[in-house]
């Protein structure tokens, strides 16, 4: 083994597969958006390659991990990798939160004549005066009249679900730290179920928005920020659920020890991150 005390894999074929997968994925997606008929097929192909890559890559890593190739130092590298990845995700969400704050605090007030916007309103939109959320689809009421998503129905339930799942996830963590694999997996099962319910309810919520509230992606800046923020969050919940699900299966299969359970930790961190983002969403998107 090269790398002396540190494990440096020799040659790796999965990254190239991953590159090809991403390339095909993007080409397919772009074609899809351009309305080319091959788009969906290519997109599906790319996704398939990516899935294969992930199984292959993670499979290798899991084998190496179970084979005892990783020691403290490798584990530390992985943890840092995951930590900084989550840090980068924070900034991704920050861009969308930034858009939300900008629209509410600056753009819409200007359009309705506050501060620097006096002439804008006087000349371009004399009729427009804005109240959040009622007229947050802008001076031309893009997408038509809509109703905002209330904070205390499904969203509140979802908040409780996610908070609970944070607790179950933490209990699972304590379990594995004591070496209780089975118990970890059971608590993870609970977490995964909570995540799945969350996702189901979110689908419900979207259907409600589209069908009853006339609130769509096209409902001006309100719809844009609402769906992009909750949508990306939902996507992250789905990913997190999947990660926890795999960790759970591995737990049932007898993976992980009290000392060595990086995959668990990574997924759990991710889950907590998703949780925290949700709190931000709940406060700024639904509530205030």
């Amino acid at each position: 083994m090269a790398g002396g005390s540190y494990y440096v894999p020799h040659q790796a074929k999965w990254p190239i597969v991953g590159t090809i997968g991403l390339f095909v994925f993007f080409v397919g997606f772009a074609n899809l958006l351009n309305g080319a008929s091959i788009g969906p097929t290519v997109l599906a192909g790319g996704t398939a390659i990516l899935v294969v890559m992930m199984f292959g890559w993670f499979g290798d890593v899991i084998r190496e991990s179970e084979g005892g190739m990783y020691k403290k130092n490798e584990g530390m590298s992985f943890r840092m990798g995951m930590g900084w990845f989550i840090f980068s995700e924070v900034f991704f969400f920050a861009a969308f939160f930034g858009a939300l704050f900008y629209a509410r605090q600056l753009a819409l007030p200007w359009l309705s004549g506050e501060g620097a916007g006096a002439t804008t309103q006087a000349i371009l939109y004399p009729e427009f005066s804005f109240t959040w959320p009622n007229t947050a689809n802008g001076p031309e009421a893009i997408g038509g009249q809509f109703e905002a998503m209330g904070a205390f129905g499904l969203p509140l339930i979802n908040t409780l679900l996610l908070l609970t799942s944070g607790v179950t996830c933490t209990i699972a963590h304590h379990a594995i730290k004591e070496g209780k694999r089975k118990s970890m997996s059971m608590w993870l099962l609970a977490t995964v179920i909570l995540g799945a319910i969350f996702l189901t309810l979110q689908v419900e919520e979207y259907a409600h928005a589209y069908n009853e509230l006339n609130l769509t992606l096209e409902s001006g800046i309100y719809g844009s920020t609402f769906f992009m923020l909750t949508g990306f969050h939902g996507f992250h919940v789905a990913m997190g659920t999947l990660m926890l699900f795999i960790v759970m299966i591995r737990g049932f299969r007898g993976h992980f020890t009290a000392e060595n359970h990086f995959a668990f930790e990574a997924s759990a961190w991710y889950w907590h991150f998703v949780d925290v983002v949700w709190l931000g969403l709940y406060v700024f998107v639904y509530w205030l």
Partner: protein, 399 residues
Amino acid sequence: MSKLRQALALFAAGFAGIVNAESLDAVPLNMPVGVTEISRSVYGLHMTIFWVCVVIGILVFGVMAYSIFAHRKSRGVTPATFHESHTVEMIWTAVPFLILVVLAVPAAKTLVAMEDSSDSELTIKITGYQWKWHYDYLDHDVAFFSSLNAEHNAARQLNSPTAGDIPSMETYLKDVDNELVIPVGKKVRFLHTSDDVIHSWWVPALALKKDAIPGYINTNWAKVEEPGVYRGKCAELCGRDHGFMPVVVRAVPQEEFDAWLVEQKGGNVAAGGTDTAVDEAPATAEEAVVEEAAPAAADDKDALMAKGQTIYNNVCAGCHQVTGAGLPGAFPAITGSAVATGDKAGHIALILNGVAGSAMSSYAWMPDEDIAAVLTYQRNGLGNSVGDVVTAADVAAAR
């Protein structure tokens, strides 16, 4: 080393050939001082900061040059071993900071003055279009488009047979058909907005540059002190012809300005007669906007075609191209277009309404006659041959 010197001499000679020393004299190489109080303070700031940088530069590079000269191994020096001194480090943190503070004060003052557009005496709304400006004298009911001078426009086409002798055109790309006229000595407020993408209205001599943001209005102002013609450009990339949307401001004494206004309001009903004189009024469509619709009964197909061609080349060709071939992927071809060879009503409706969410905006602002002409041209020129004629009455009926 002597080879290097030789080479240098050679290059120097080469450049001397390119840079005609005489023409250099005439060409300004610095920011203009300008003709407003603000422009003079901006110029002052510019020169101050420039000289500050020059002085710091001379000091820094001087020390460096001395060190390169004196502390070289070939002179047999042995390196010193110091590598830290809190005192000098404090000094060279603090001194630049203080210099910056001193610079910040006048800069902030000028900025505050620039932003104060209160008490203006005339307001002009400027709207950017791809690729022309629209000026609207809000208090005077005068409005018109302003686009690149037609001769220059012809000359600048790639490999065009119309290419003129550019070096002889002193104001190449700096002239427009309709200048913006403003009075001197008055605080004129400009409102900037755009109809399509972001543009930026820039006139160096007035120290004005402001982005035209679609859907928002920005403000700036100028009080011009000397009569004259001040030229500028669009300064924000706005697509293919971004380089070809100049600004010309003509500042005139108040009386002249008043007379000009009167002429604009009434006088150009007469000018409307030039509508059909295609060759000399290439920008008919734009001018026509300020005209009370001229009752030109040009049902005659040839006249319509000729007029339509001019309008097409000036207004539509920026996107759909002079040949009508469009730019694949961005702008559809007119040649063979289903719309332009389909039924008249659809064609007219498209021009009147535009296509939402695309660069094809509504051209309902054009007089009926002009729309009729350009549509007739699209249907029967550019490789199309539908055979029918669109009349002003058709257009009026569709409105």
